[in-house]
Amino acid sequence: QQQVKQSPQSLIVQKGGISIINCAYENTAFDYFPWYQQFPGKGPALLIAIRPDVSEKKEGRFTISFNKSAKQFSLHIMDSQPGDSATYFCAVVSSNTGKLIFGQGTTLQVKP
C-alpha cells in the first residue's frame, strides 16, 4: 500500500533554474510533512517541513507548497546549485505515531 507517491523519479536542472518535486498522499490523518535530502553514503537530513495549517513555507531557496484539499505538497528549489544535487524524499507523519512514511525519492542533478 503506497501511501505517498513522489514524482518525478529523476530531474535534471541547469544551474540557476527552479527544481520542482511533487508528492501526493492518501490518508488525511497525516499532519506533518517534511522533506529530506540525502547525499550518497549519508543518512537523510531534514531540509524543510510544513504543517497543514499553512499553505506555504519558505526557508532560503527552499519552499514547500501545500494543498490540503488535493492532498498534495511540493518542494521548490530556487536558483538551483550543483551542490543541491542529491536525492530528495518527501515524507508524511501522523502525530499519533511519529512514524515517517517516505516517498520513493527524486534524484536531482543540477548541471553547472
Binding site: D31, G41, K42, P44, T97, G98, F102, G105
Partner: protein, 115 residues
C-alpha cells in the same frame, strides 16, 4: 555535539546468519527509530522505541527484533538473513515520540550485504 552514530558502517553476511546493528542517539534524545532503505527506494519504517518500550512496528517479519537500553542506545537484530535483507539500515533519534512535529535525525546508516 555528536549526531546519531551507527556501527558498524558496513557488514557482509551470508544467508541464514544473524546480525546485530547498533545505534547511539543524540544526547538527550529518548526515542530511536529504525528504517530499512533498499537501493533506489525511500526508507521503510521497522521499529520505534521510546523510553525502552516499543512504540511502533512496521510490516517486517518476526526475524527482525530490536531493543533500547537504559542509556537510550538501541540494537536491531535480524535472524536467518535472506538475500532480500541487503539494504542500508538507518537509525533516527528524536527528543520525544508521538508529537508528530518532533524532528527525526538520521545516522549515516549501516550497509548490510547478504551473500
Amino acid at each position: 555535539d555528536a549526531g546519531v552514530t551507527q556501527s558498524p558502517t558496513h557488514l557482509i553476511k551470508t544467508r541464514g546468519q544473524h546480525v546485530t546493528l547498533r545505534c547511539s542517539p543524540i544526547s538527550g534524545h529518548k526515542s530511536v527509530s529504525w528504517y530499512q532503505q533498499v537501493l533506489g527506494q525511500g526508507p521503510q519504517f521497522i521499529f520505534q522505541y521510546y523510553e525502552k518500550e516499543e512504540r511502533g512496528r512496521g510490516n517486517f517479519p518476526d526475524r527482525f527484533s530490536a531493543r533500547q537500553f537504559p542509556n537510550y542506545s538501541s540494537e536491531l537484530n535480524v535472524n536467518a538473513l535472506l538475500l532480500g535483507d541487503s539494504a542500508l539500515y538507518l537509525c533516527a533519534s528524536s527528543l520525544e515520540v508521538g508529537s508528530g512535529t518532533d524532528t527525526q535525525y538520521f545516522g549515516p546508516g549501516t550497509r548490510l550485504t547478504v551473500l
